[in-house]
């Protein structure tokens, strides 16, 4: 498809592999880049957590200084939530959604690349704090040690409560870098959410009506809407902080009448939907894996989808349950408590759907399935301890203690991380054409399962005994040393399990069992491609008749609702593999483009220029940033449609 307009630039080609990474607009490659980057940050965030746990292993520990400790727990939260979890969810979404709906790419391929590069440079910007950030102690303050590499990062806790994270109590550039970095990551997520929504609504294969979509696509869709409607709150909230810190605003200046509770409302209006943004895609993945390995369709498809809607919708009405101990009215407390209890209903529906799918299924307990079942168990434990917080007086006891830490780590590690591992074991063959090793995988699973419970179960008891969260110091003889030690041992066991996983990854990528086509007898469209999929995904854009389309191409259903093989598996396989050799000149794919990378590159410079405002460096940085942005956007608009 050549355009007649003057060709000012050529679209880059894919000759060099590194240059291809910078310029790719292929949704699969971008998805994999998200996954790799996210995994790197998982290791970074994990090491931060390990340092925290090692420090807390014994009473009156001086392993870390108080300033280092404050920075580490804050950055641990930022890294795990924004840089690991959201990136990995974006990665899965990017990779899977177009394949599951029978599309060749997302609706805006270059925008997709842009959202990755903004995320990437946002992460670079946040980590630049190690070299240019500082957390100068407030005058006469408690934290008067010298700062060092670890304590150069933002230290106000991941929810940056005001006025503690304001200029008076957290001077220094570290907080500004953290705040502006999160704004960048928000922009990346917004672009990606809009892109995936348009893709899902406009690029579905013929016949794939909305209620035939795989559950995973639906869950990513709910998440996209959550992002579109909740990111504005955090953006505005972070803007108010930037105004306060950089331009002397009074939003949270109590002396001038500013109200710190406003920050809490704005933050949690984003922060609570964020919890579902993290976990709903994992729900979707579990809903794909369990039916395949139970060899049954998912139980109650419609209820599962609508429960997802309900969770997303009610998720906007429960934010104040994070604030029961602040000065909100008792009527509001009752209302938000009730809403929080109600949200357990759609979540329960999902749990029962998964259990009913497992029930009487021909279960294949491989690693992906083990992780899925463990996900259900862990998530129920985390969910039940969560419902306790809907009871206001009980919440007053537990809030800001290790009970809360235990609760949400059960949900996010026991739930989220286990689900992500299930997804990795399930879709690894799709990406690389090789299976992850089952034996090493089972070792990985059991070590992680043990480590999880050893680490986070004792934290509930510590919390109930009154150990507050974010504490750098506890005295000897308070009867909490033992369980702290156990928790630290548990975290080291988690480290071992992650090392086993990395080993498995390296081993299986080289010597894993080869699969060319449909290793799991899959149900959804992504398994109808050759493995790994060609750049254009589908040789013929599929035509869809039913839900679980690919399954019903292979199986028919008898009177008693049993699936009978049509015996055409080898035939389908032969044809699909043959398509890789056929002529593909009629398939038009978007060409590579360097401009998303350039546009993303501009953002850290703009951020730094704001941080160093008023100096000569800032002017230079601003000029570089604006020029890069200019080149990026104008190159983007003027580059020819396709090569």
């Amino acid at each position: 498809m050549k355009t007649k307009s003057k060709t000012i630039y050529k679209r880059p080609n894919q000759k060099s592999k590194f240059f291809d990474l910078l310029t790719t607009v292929d949704h699969k490659k971008i998805g994999i880049m998200y996954l790799y980057t996210g995994f790197v940050f998982f290791l970074v965030g994990g090491l931060e957590a390990l340092l925290i746990r090692i420090h807390l292993a014994q009473a009156e520990s001086t392993f870390l200084s108080a300033a280092e400790y404050n920075s580490l727990f804050t950055v641990h939260g930022f890294t795990m939530v924004f840089l690991f979890f959201m990136a990995v969810n974006s990665g899965f979404g990017n990779y899977l959604v177009p394949l599951m709906i029978g599309a060749r790419d997302v609706a805006f391929p270059r925008m997709n690349a842009l959202s990755y590069w903004i995320y990437f440079f946002g992460a670079v910007f946040i980590h630049s704090t190690l070299f240019i950030g500082n957390t100068a102690p407030p005058e006469g303050g408690y934290l008067s040690e010298e700062s060092n590499l670890f304590s150069n990062a933002v230290a106000g806790g991941w929810f940056l409560y005001q006025p503690n994270a304001g200029i008076q109590f957290s001077p220094g550039t570290a907080t500004d870098i953290g705040v502006i970095g999160i704004i960048f990551l928000g922009v990346a997520s917004l672009i990606s959410a809009i892109n995936l929504t348009v893709t899902t609504f406009n690029l579905r294969a013929k016949g794939l009506t909305l209620m035939k979509l795989p559950v995973y696509v639906w869950m990513t869709q709910v998440v996209s809407f959550l992002l579109i409607f909740s990111l504005p709150f955090i953006t505005i909230a972070l803007f108010t902080v930037v105004v306060d810190r950089q331009f002397g605003g009074n939003f949270y200046n109590v002396a001038m009448g500013g109200d710190p509770i406003l920050w809490q409302h704005l933050f949690w209006l984003f922060g609570h939907p964020e919890v579902y943004i993290l976990i709903l895609p994992v729900f979707g993945m579990i809903s794909e894996i369990i039916p395949v390995f139970s060899r049954k369709p998912i139980f109650g498809y419609a209820t599962l989808v609508f429960a997802g809607f309900a969770i997303g919708f009610i998720g906007f009405g429960v934010w104040a349950h994070h604030m029961f101990s602040s000065s909100i009215q008792s009527l509001a407390q009752a209302g938000f408590g009730a809403a929080t209890m109600i949200i357990a209903i759609p979540t329960g529906i999902k749990i029962f759907n998964w259990i009913a799918t497992l029930w009487f299924g021909k279960r294949n307990l491989n690693v992906a399935m083990l992780f899925s079942i463990a996900f259900i168990i862990n998530f129920v434990i985390g969910g039940v301890s969560g419902v306790l917080h809907a009871v206001v007086p009980s919440d007053w006891q537990q809030t800001d203690t290790y009970f809360i830490i235990g609760h949400f780590h059960y949900v996010l590690v026991g739930g989220g991380l286990f689900g992500i591992f299930a997804g990795i074991y399930y879709w690894f063959p799709h990406v690389f054409g090789k299976k992850l090793d089952e034996k090493i995988g089972k070792i990985h699973f059991w070590i992680l399962f043990l480590g999880l419970h050893l680490t986070f179960l004792p934290q509930h008891w510590l919390g109930l005994q009154g150990m507050v969260r974010r504490t750098w110091w506890y005295d000897k003889g308070m009867n909490i040393e033992f369980w702290n030690l156990i928790s630290t041992i548990g975290s080291l066991i988690i480290l071992i399990s992650v090392l086993v996983f990395i080993l498995n990854w390296i081993y299986s990528k080289r010597m894993g069992e080869d699969t060319e086509f449909d290793p799991w007898d899959g149900r959804t469209l992504e398994w109808s491609t050759p493995l790994p999929p060609p750049e254009y995904n589908f040789y013929d854009i599929p035509k869809v008749k039913t839900k679980d389309e690919f399954w019903y191409r292979k199986y028919s259903v008898d009177k008693e609702d049993r699936s009978i093989s049509k015996g055409n598996h080898t035939e389908i396989k032969k044809y699909t593999l043959a398509t890789t050799l056929m002529d593909t000149s009629h398939i038009h794919l978007p060409s590579n483009s360097l401009f998303p990378f350039i546009t993303g590159l501009a953002l850290p410079f703009l951020g730094w220029s704001l941080i160093f405002r008023g100096s000569f460096t800032a002017v230079v940085l601003l000029l570089i940033g604006v020029l890069t942005l200019f080149i990026g956007i104008f190159g983007w608009t003027l580059e020819p449609e396709n090569e």
Binding site: M1, T3, K4, S5, A103, R104, D105, A107, F108, P109, R110, M111, L190, A193, I194, N195, T197, V198, F201, N202, L203, R204, A205, K206, G207, L208, T209, I228, F229, L231, P232, F233, T235, I236, A237, F239, T240, V243, D244, F247, G248, G249, N250, F251, M256, G257, G258, D259, L262, L266, L269, I541, H588, L589, P590, W636, T637, E641, N642
Partner: protein, 196 residues
């Protein structure tokens, strides 16, 4: 943007990709401004604490005129879009630049207002009122400036070649953005200037 797949071989909403994306972006923008205006209204009860109060400072007739100018720019935007649809690109171009001009007039009025207020002693750090006022109107002003830049860029592109050109941002999506910013100003004007 990318039209590599046509809508015929897909299930779709019938709305073009770019327009749907713009609607989704605007829905996010609306929530953004809702939060913004809520902050202003939330702090309104504290404005009496400062030395300068809204009642003593605002020049409502002046701001009404600039607001009217901004509203009229919606009309010129509609005209531009209309001429674009009937392929009269010359007139479309004139009206798109007229829209950009009216937008600039509005922003100039805002800058004039800011200088007046700053001379009277109202700054972003002088009181809660100052912080909230400059924050709300400033962020809206920034959106108008971005809109003006997009209008000029698109208008200039129309000059390069005015047939079959696939614009990076179509006139229709641009018009949607511009109208949204206008409508938001009506709400901000009411909340900030008119409600006592």
């Amino acid at each position: 943007m990318s039209n590599f797949s046509t809508t015929q071989d897909h299930e779709s909403t019938g709305i073009s990709n770019q327009k749907l994306a713009m609607w989704l972006f605007l829905s996010s923008e609306v929530v953004f401004f809702a939060a913004l205006i809520s902050i202003y209204l939330f702090y309104k009860r504290l404005f009496a604490l400062g030395d300068l109060t809204p009642e003593g400072l605002f020049d409502i007739p002046f701001t009404s005129v600039t607001s009217f100018v901004l509203l009229m720019s919606s009309l010129t935007m509609v005209l531009s879009h209309n001429y674009y649809e009937i392929k009269d690109y010359e007139k479309s171009k004139i009206w798109i630049f007229a829209t950009a001009f009216l937008g600039t007039v509005f922003v100039s009025g805002q800058i004039y207002e800011y200088t007046e207020f700053i001379q009277s002693g109202l700054t972003i750090s002088s009181s809660i009122f100052g912080t909230a006022f400059f924050f709300v109107t400033g962020i809206h002003g920034l959106h108008v400036v971005i809109g003006v830049v997009l209008l000029i860029a698109t208008g200039s592109q129309m000059g390069i070649s005015n047939s079959n050109r696939i614009y990076s941002l179509s006139i229709e999506s641009l018009a949607l953005y511009w109208h949204c910013i206008d409508i938001v100003w009506i709400v901000i004007f009411t909340a900030v200037y008119l409600i006592p």
